[in-house]
């Protein structure tokens, strides 16, 4: 029987060896795509993240492609939400991700919309100041504003006389809302609508964020959790409700800005650090509402890959050379 056991051991050893070889082979070739170390980036490795929806993925890829062109090595990972991204960047799991000033203000910092200073710049400065002691650096934002909105079908708007969010508060018991799971319990999401405007929908259809217009299209919902930059706001028969109390997105602007882990930024050699901030500023300056809408439409309608969309855009804008 010792022979049998010896064979068992031999068999297991062979299996482990085979597995180990596979692992080694697989691990070896996963280098970052694109540029080598030529450029001010000097091959510094950066881990970027997006928050799991199309626009976020596009911006993250825009950053990644532009930075690679400057000689950085980048990796983009997809995280599930703002909370997760914030936690990850604070403990250094990721180095950089795109956030919104409004989200940072209301959700991450937990501040009251009513207490927001007037003007997008002032809000950004407040966010920047509050982020510094958290170990995070907020870099200048893009021009486009992507507020959280509620949009309803024009039919529903006519039937219930919906023009503002307060109007919705009264009529919401008859209406069905389409949103994603995160929105349901996020402080600046449905809880805020309920609290400030008395909005209490008859039913909420919870779908993945990329599918939130489907219930509208299928006729199963009349209202939807919309972003200011959604291409479908233009193509579907929807009306955006006005934030009359200023507690939702009217009170606070939602500009896209890069968040960087301060320790990582300061740990870079001076040339690389400057290249990082300059490149991000260059990319962000290009993002107007019209441009970002076009990019989102490519991903959401044509199901193009965010990376391809980012590359095409940056090449067309002559930020990076075509490869």
């Amino acid at each position: 029987m010792t022979v049998r056991f010896g064979r068992l051991a031999a068999g297991l050893a062979a299996l482990i060896l085979a597995g180990g070889t596979l692992l080694a082979a697989g691990c070896g070739d996963d280098d970052g795509s694109g540029g080598a170390s030529d450029g001010p980036g000097g091959g510094a490795e950066l881990v970027l993240a997006d928050k799991g929806f199309a626009e976020s993925a596009i911006v993250a890829q825009l950053y990644a492609v532009a930075l690679e062109d400057q000689g950085f090595e980048t990796e983009v990972t997809s995280l599930g939400s703002t909370e997760i991204a914030d936690g990850a960047i604070r403990n250094g799991e990721i180095d950089l991700y795109p956030e919104y000033t409004g989200t940072a203000f209301l959700n991450v910092l937990g501040r009251d919309g009513a207490s927001a200073p007037a003007g997008a710049e002032a809000v950004f400065e407040e966010v920047k100041a509050a982020y510094a002691p958290r170990g995070l650096t907020a870099l200048p934002p893009s021009p486009y504003n992507n507020g959280n909105e509620v949009a309803c079908t024009t039919d529903a708007a006519e039937e219930y006389g919906l023009e503002t969010l307060s109007d919705l508060g009264e009529a919401s018991g008859n209406l069905v809302y389409s949103a994603n799971a995160e929105h349901l319990t996020r402080d600046d999401g449905l809880p805020l609508l309920r609290r400030e405007y008395g909005i209490d929908f008859r039913e909420v259809k919870t779908v993945d964020i990329s599918l939130r217009y489907r219930p509208i299209e299928d006729g199963d919902a009349q209202c939807v959790y919309a972003f200011g930059t959604d291409p479908k706001l233009a193509t579907l028969d929807l009306v955006v409700l006005e934030d009359d109390k200023g507690a939702y997105s009217a009170g606070v602007p939602f500009q896209n800005f890069p968040v960087v882990n301060t320790a990582r930024l300061e740990g870079l050699p001076e040339e690389a650090g400057a290249a990082l901030t300059d490149t991000l500023a260059e990319v962000d300056a290009l993002l107007t509402e019209g441009e970002i809408r076009r990019l989102i439409a490519r991903v959401e309608f044509d199901q193009d890959d965010p990376r391809d969309v980012a590359e095409d855009f940056l090449v067309a804008q002559e930020v990076v050379a075509s490869s």
Partner: protein
Amino acid sequence: MPEVRWEWIADHAEEIQTRSLEHLILVSASTAIGVAIAIPIGIAVRGRRIPFAAATGITGLLYTIPSLAMFAFLLPIFGIGVTPAVVGLVLYSLLLLVRNTAVGLESVPEAVREASRGMGLTPRQVLLRVDLPLALPAIMAGIRLATVSAVGIATVAVLIGGGGLGVLIYSDGIQRALFFTPIVTGAVCATVMAIVLDLLLVGVERLLTPWARARAAVR
């Protein structure tokens, strides 16, 4: 039937490879750890009614808990990432492995064990040289079941940051408005992986138990 965009697959070949490898690591690591935990437990509870019932009861309960819930329970303890994914997969593998180990050991004919004791083997030697090798078919059956089951459950690991083929299905597919190509790619890769691993393990079992084949032939 939505069409498959082959260019997508070609463009993402590297990602598909990476995710497959991640998936394989999740499955093999958890099965290996499961085996390391389950075999001693199986040895300890064999032939003893109440310990056996307790062991299979607890591991059975774990097996019944749906994977999303299980991963949710592990999240506050382990955070997101590979760790809770592996822990969850290990817990799922235990029922099949413990049960099959114990039952396999129990089915060793008493006559054989007595004979080997008669030849002067210590209880430990009996275990290592008689019981375990003879229980090998049952143990391997458990490993096969646990492995195939792990391939399936590991697809959910993406939701807690565990990576694997679920990334193709969820992040690249579902989160891009149910983009069909990566979903089908992930599904096919996972299914193929399950089948290939199952066959591999059958081969390993045949290698390790040539006497079973001989017995089958005689029958």
